[in-house]
């Protein structure tokens, strides 16, 4: 019997050894041996994943960056949005790219797992001035006090309203900018219209689920504590904010009706909701201003910042960041690349290229939010008037919003946390749960994920 068992035992041990030796990660391989020096001559390959040079803002900065890297560095781009599967495959094969271009709200998970390295040495060695970055953007790339990404671009929300609909209902944009929730609810019912039992004009679109953090903050609540360790999803203020924002839909026949009507709109085309007077107002990211300006310059749209209940401007900041994966071969070049792409001179050069391109098309330059305050100030000086006050007001509102941003701080379970609160909102929108019960469930899910992730992170540390 023992004779028969021996070969199987050998096979089992061999299989176990083979299996366990297969999955060797690159996590937590830092840059202790790397020297970052702004004057150093660099060489080698630099593969960038998740970034595409698709417009003049990207190509102008990329050209400058390649000059800063020198002829010795060969830059290659893996274009398109970051594909996390592609990145993980590269990591699993032991050949991660040199640089990642990633949504800031995904950075915490990657940092906690050691997939990307802390940038302290890079920032100090290359002389990157982090004080220039917009504070909320920097918060999003800082985990447990350590910076893991160089932020770029800032997305903020504005109130976008149909002035002709407001005028017809005897309302102003102050009634729909969030500063007075009772007035906004009343405006919603005044603006909405139905035709044959179907919604034909949306009064107000509260843009759930994505803007729950904005509604909660407007009501004085954060979804997560400043240190990123405690979920606060079922606080009374968040529950109240969700009830209110869902109520906006309920007053129009429910989320199903609003979403179905919203989905049928030609969102990016000349038949958009403002051009066809099908939407009273909504909070929306600033890039949509450019879309409207391009496709329907005659639309009777009006802009303001989104405001909290005390009337102060408020915006939920999101954007991208540059991060250096663990185990990469050329962190020095990656650091120089991130620095040059986000420095003030690069942004100004890129903005000037955009100004020229827009001028050639007979259009105005509507500004750019870079996540770098110093660059924002200089780029703002390049903004050109469209000759139409409504668009100029929109650009002014965008810059005002950029000065009043908040963000969700980085945390090691950011994907689970985001999924928890979005699922909670969706359960309410789909009529599967009431706000309190749904947010209680989300709180439980999110806190469990946070506790485990922080424990894992600090266990490693």
């Amino acid at each position: 019997m023992k004779k028969h068992l021996a070969p199987w035992a050998v096979l089992a041990v061999a299989a176990a050894l083979t299996l366990s030796s297969c999955a060797t990660g690159t996590g937590s391989k830092g840059d202790a041996d790397v020297t970052y020096d702004p004057n150093a001559t660099l060489s080698g390959d630099l593969q960038v994943m998740g970034f595409g040079a698709t417009d003049e803002i990207a190509t102008t900065r990329l050209d400058r960056t390649e000059q800063a890297l020198g002829d010795g560095v060969k830059v290659s781009l893996i274009e398109g949005d970051l594909d996390i599967q592609q990145f993980l495959s590269a990591v699993a094969s032991g050949k991660p790219p040199e640089l990642l271009y990633v949504d800031r709200n995904k950075l915490g998970s990657l940092a906690a797992r050691g997939a990307i390295i802390p940038l302290d040495k890079c920032i100090e060695g290359e002389g990157i001035d982090t004080s220039q970055f917009v504070e909320s953007a920097l918060d999003q790339v800082t985990l447990d006090g350590t910076v893991y990404g160089i932020p770029e671009f800032n997305t903020v929300q504005l109130t976008m309203a149909d002035k002709s609909l407001l005028d017809a209902a005897g309302l102003t944009i102050d009634d729909v900018n969030g500063s007075n929730w009772d007035a906004m609810a009343a405006a919603n019912t005044a603006l909405m219209k139905t035709d044959g039992g179907k919604l034909s004009v949306i009064g107000v679109d509260s843009k759930l689920p994505e803007f729950l953090p904005l509604w909660a903050k407007a009501n004085g609540a954060d979804l997560i504590s400043a240190d990123g360790k405690t979920a606060q999803l079922n606080s009374p203020e968040v529950v109240q904010a969700l009830e209110y924002a869902v109520g906006i839909y309920d007053a129009q026949g429910g989320f199903s009706a609003v979403k179905a009507f919203r989905d049928s709109a030609d969102f990016f085309g000349a038949g958009n909701q403002y051009a066809t007077n099908q939407l009273g107002a909504m909070p929306m990211e600033q890039w949509y201003l450019n879309v409207l300006n391009d496709v329907s310059p005659e639309a009777t749209v009006e802009f303001d910042t989104f405001r909290d209940t005390s009337g102060e401007p408020l915006a939920f900041s999101t954007g991208q960041a540059w991060a250096i994966p663990s185990g990469t071969k050329n962190p020095a070049a990656a650091c120089r690349f991130a620095k040059t792409m986000t420095d003030v001179d690069s942004w100004v050069a890129a903005a000037q290229a955009r100004v020229d391109a827009r001028a050639a098309d007979g259009k105005a330059f509507t500004g750019l939010l870079t996540a770098n305050s110093a660059a924002d100030a200089k780029v703002k000086e390049l903004v050109t008037s469209s000759g139409d006050a409504k668009w100029d007001d929109g650009v002014a509102a965008m810059y005002e919003a950029n000065d009043h941003t908040f963000s969700l701080p980085a945390n090691p379970a950011d994907q689970e946390f985001t999924t928890a609160w979005q699922d909670a909102v969706n359960r309410v929108l789909n009529g599967q749960a009431d706000p309190q019960a749904s947010l209680d469930q989300a709180q439980d899910e999110a806190q469990k994920a946070l506790d485990k992730a922080w424990a894992d992170l600090q266990g490693e540390g």
């Binding site: 999955a23 689920p209 009706a257 989905d263 994907q415 999924t419 979005q422 699922d423 009529g431």
Partner: protein, 336 residues
């Protein structure tokens, strides 16, 4: 041959009917001469060489990943760091996770409704095509198969357009006959039925397979049946269905497995490009949740455990189907 003896022989599929050719009548083979043995060995080697690309592909791309995922299912693994062995913790956690029950329930509902509906629609279309003339049949075969070529992601986006509760084509058509269609894309009660209806978009491949089976049913059987006075339904029940039952069984098995693994369309419509933040629990199928765990939350060990549970479920259901098929599926080669 059974095919020449009319209705009686076709339906004679009772116990023992399959034993004749394989069992009692078989003669023992004569001993092999050294020459024949060498020739047989050469043939065997040649055969193995011919199928070796498939064997290598199977070992490298199927068997090895399966073994490896079984190992990973016993670990805490995030792809980035080395796996930590955790025993059966993932499996224990799996049975405590309410989303597993939710996603399995959704998947089971989808499978139970979608598979029979898919087979019935495919069979109906195949019967219609079988009645058509040669030329028109070829045209319609192509027409029915074309949607199968549409990328599933496009089908997911198309679903959102066609089934839009306010302006979608489906509700518009229902409105013509006085029916107010539901909110297919948001109402949890209608999300899965909508996805099931949309899945019929890809019924073309089953139509082609069933049509091929129908074409193989000998006309003589129908002629004999007609002479015996059998009507359309009797012919269908006694001739058509028994003779194409192996093909129906194949379509059922393949579609059951595919239904348990359904992902693309629902993911696109409710979790991916179609909706970046809006989602609907009613469309959370098991493989979508597996994908979220593995590639969004980087819980690859947990996702591997989920994959093995799904494998066991599919194997069990396929086993049951095979057992049940012995009673209902007719194989010509098994008849004496």
């Amino acid at each position: 041959m059974a095919t020449t003896t009319g209705l009686a022989a076709v339906t004679a599929t009772g116990p023992g009917a399959s034993e004749g050719r394989r069992g009692r009548g078989a003669r023992p083979e004569p001993p092999l001469t050294p020459g024949r043995r060498r020739a047989r060995r050469r043939n065997t080697i040649a055969a193995i060489l011919f199928i070796s690309p498939w064997i290598v592909g199977f070992l490298v791309f199927t068997l090895w990943p399966m073994i490896y995922s079984a190992y990973l299912s016993l670990t805490d693994y995030d792809v980035i760091n080395d796996p930590d062995f955790v025993g059966f913790d993932n499996y224990v956690q799996l049975f405590q996770d309410p989303k597993i029950a939710l996603s399995l329930g959704n998947t089971l509902f989808y499978t139970v409704i979608q598979v029979p509906l898919h087979v019935l629609v495919a069979l109906g279309l195949a019967v219609l095509l079988n009645q058509a003339g040669r030329r028109s049949s070829g045209f319609f075969r192509t027409v029915f198969f074309l949607p199968r070529m549409t990328p599933p992601v496009a089908v997911g986006v198309l679903f959102l357009l066609l089934f839009n509760g306010q302006t979608g084509l489906i509700n518009t058509v229902l409105g013509w006959v006085g029916i107010q269609g539901p909110a297919w894309t948001t109402d949890p009660a209608w999300v899965k039925p909508g996805l099931i209806l949309m899945s019929l978009w890809a019924v073309g491949s089953s139509v082609i397979i069933l049509l091929a089976a129908l074409r193989n049913v000998p006309n003589e059987l129908y002629e004999s049946a007609r002479i015996d006075g059998a009507g359309f339904w009797q012919q269908t029940r006694r001739i058509t269905v028994p003779l194409i039952s192996p093909t129906i069984f194949f379509v059922v098995i393949v579609n059951t497995i595919a239904a348990f693994q359904t992902f693309d369309e629902a993911y696109t419509a409710f979790f991916g490009a179609g909706n970046t933040t809006y989602s609907n629990d009613a469309a959370l199928f098991y493989v979508i949740y597996l994908f979220q765990q593995g590639f969004q939350f980087l819980h690859m060990g947990y996702a591997s455990a989920m994959a093995w549970v799904l494998f066991v479920i599919i194997m069990a259901i396929t086993g049951i189907q095979v057992l049940v098929s012995r009673r209902f599926v007719y194989y010509e080669g098994d008849q004496s």
